[in-house]
Symmetry: none
Amino acid sequence: MALLKLLIEEGQITDPDSPRGRLLDQAAQLFLQKGYERTTVRDLASAVGIQSGSIFHHFSSKEDILKAVMSEALVYFIEELRAAIEAAQNPRHRLLACIRSELQFTIGPDTTAVMSLLISEWRSLSVEAQGDILHYRTRYEQQWLDVLNAAKEVGLVDGDVFVMRRLLAGAIHWTTTWFQLDGELSLEALANETLHLVCSGDSQT
Amino acid sequence: MALLKLLIEEGQITDPDSPRGRLLDQAAQLFLQKGYERTTVRDLASAVGIQSGSIFHHFSSKEDILKAVMSEALVYFIEELRAAIEAAQNPRHRLLACIRSELQFTIGPDTTAVMSLLISEWRSLSVEAQGDILHYRTRYEQQWLDVLNAAKEVGLVDGDVFVMRRLLAGAIHWTTTWFQLDGELSLEALANETLHLVCSGDSQT
Amino acid sequence: MALLKLLIEEGQITDPDSPRGRLLDQAAQLFLQKGYERTTVRDLASAVGIQSGSIFHHFSSKEDILKAVMSEALVYFIEELRAAIEAAQNPRHRLLACIRSELQFTIGPDTTAVMSLLISEWRSLSVEAQGDILHYRTRYEQQWLDVLNAAKEVGLVDGDVFVMRRLLAGAIHWTTTWFQLDGELSLEALANETLHLVCSGDSQT
Amino acid sequence: MALLKLLIEEGQITDPDSPRGRLLDQAAQLFLQKGYERTTVRDLASAVGIQSGSIFHHFSSKEDILKAVMSEALVYFIEELRAAIEAAQNPRHRLLACIRSELQFTIGPDTTAVMSLLISEWRSLSVEAQGDILHYRTRYEQQWLDVLNAAKEVGLVDGDVFVMRRLLAGAIHWTTTWFQLDGELSLEALANETLHLVCSGDSQT
DNA sequence: TATGAATGAGGTTTCATTCAT
DNA sequence: AATGAATGAAACCTCATTCAT
């Protein structure tokens, strides 16, 4: 939260109380609910309470909105992940922090829409736009790989770290289709269960 | 393959050499490549080499095509999964058979498009159509759950089987984003690696 | 009835038991019910129990069907009207015969659809086709005018016979919107009431 | 005229100088000339001088245009008829007022298209739309019936008023097919002639 | 900044008609 | 005579985007 405010102040993320920010929020919701293509600029405008023409004072095109949603989400995820990793004290905790953070992004109350969009609407971007966003994704993934490599070096996990990252990514992203935050399984428990997928670990230090 | 021919003869799956079948094949490819919404019926018609109006002799609407792609795929997956399970000789092999089959559907050369569509274009169906297709999905999932429950009874896996199925589903479906059939990792090796995610197994009987 | 058979034998009207005749019958029903434009060739084919392509063995176009329905109806109406006039014994009865006949065409059980079509779908004909059919209409109207002129000569009616014919035509055609054959008012009573519109007559000889 | 302006100011009828109003005017002309089905939205758009897509800013569908034409016409007819009846001083004059008004709607220069449409394109409305419009028609007809019943009470006419109304409606509507405003017969004379159809009148007070 | 009417390209779908079988 | 798949023009309608106000 504090981190989010900082990023807003720095101008890296749009203030959610500004018209542009409200637009981005609603866009994330609607794009996820109905899909990018099936969401019309009019839908979006009326969700925000403005006229459709007015949207183009804030964004140059509909795709520009999707790009902004994605890139701002990634900026935030990158920073949040960095902070979580830094706060952890050993390779195992750092790996758990990655898992917990990504689960949080995926199924936590505030970011679930944008996280899912990154995956579900990737093809809705033009090739050029994909290139722009890929930049951010690479930076995000690099942090995961660093943590996994470190875990491998101390024998916490073994096997191909690329494959491992991908199996984990799949398992985590998929939670969006079934996990209920208010269900019996807590996010923390799920994070632990997910950690066990890759490190059949013993003591939980 | 033999199974596929049987289903075609029984009329449960459209003959891929018929006009309707060619349409379904191309639709699966295009819907996956460009997305359902961004694929126009004109695209589809020209991919098959007919006029756009002619499509509506075979299907009553564009959505009807997507429904047919999905339901025929599921009919095939259900039968293929059943056969694979029946051919396996113990709970461990049956679970491996499930994993291998679903990996095969996901990244094997013939079915990858339709398997991915089932997930990526689910929201493109109207609610009614979703209900129709859900029928098939439920039958498919039930086979997985039966196998996982049997595995749990003999102590092969432990934990919540629903959660386990879902983590596995996520991991497997995600392979579509990264796995290369002609890469270093074989499908069989990946299946084994995936099995280890849930059963930290011992003897590989 | 006897007259109808005669006309069929003479080939002036298509035998209603032939495929062509069944097509014409159904066409009249459907064109009236749904309108010519909203009736598709497929509707028509399936009403008759054949395939849409087969219709074009009997008629060269959809409009050709409408033309045939109209011209055959007029051929029959002309002859029926002539017979009714000839059977009547004085100017008053001849006028009543005209009224009764036209009411019969309009609301009688067998001809109501085709009679209404002549009016409601007139604009659906191309200009050329209108010219063709107008021929028949003129012959039909001439018989009315002859009877009205004769009635005027004996002082039965007065005023402009053209105007009178048109007021009567309107009143009679309009019955199609409200008259119930099985209601309280008989067709004969309605004919008499209609006659009174133009000849405030006395004795009902 | 004054009445029309009032209704426009009240918002019950669209201002004919607004884009929507121009659209309605042209629609009435074209629907009558070519028929609703044969009039395309492009025809309509080009008659008004806009692009076909722009029509859908004003109406949600083509049928919506037809509905609006009909309901606005009826709103006007209802009010005009009411005013005409109120201005007349005795039952005979009130009946004449009804006849004259309806003749005016039918063959008068401004309303002839919409009046005819109400009859000729009724079947082009969906069943639901017919229900909506029927509302207005009923209110219009009730005024006629009230006047006819009052005329019957004072012995001006006799017979079934429903039948009488329908014979009159038929005769009046039919004038659209033959009456020429600039011909020998004046509208006033025709109104009187029509009145005589039902009340074989005496003194012409 | 905001509006909202207008654009115009392009989408899905319809349907009379053709023609090889 | 009949079939029914295919045609292809044209229908209604959608929607991102523009622009005068």
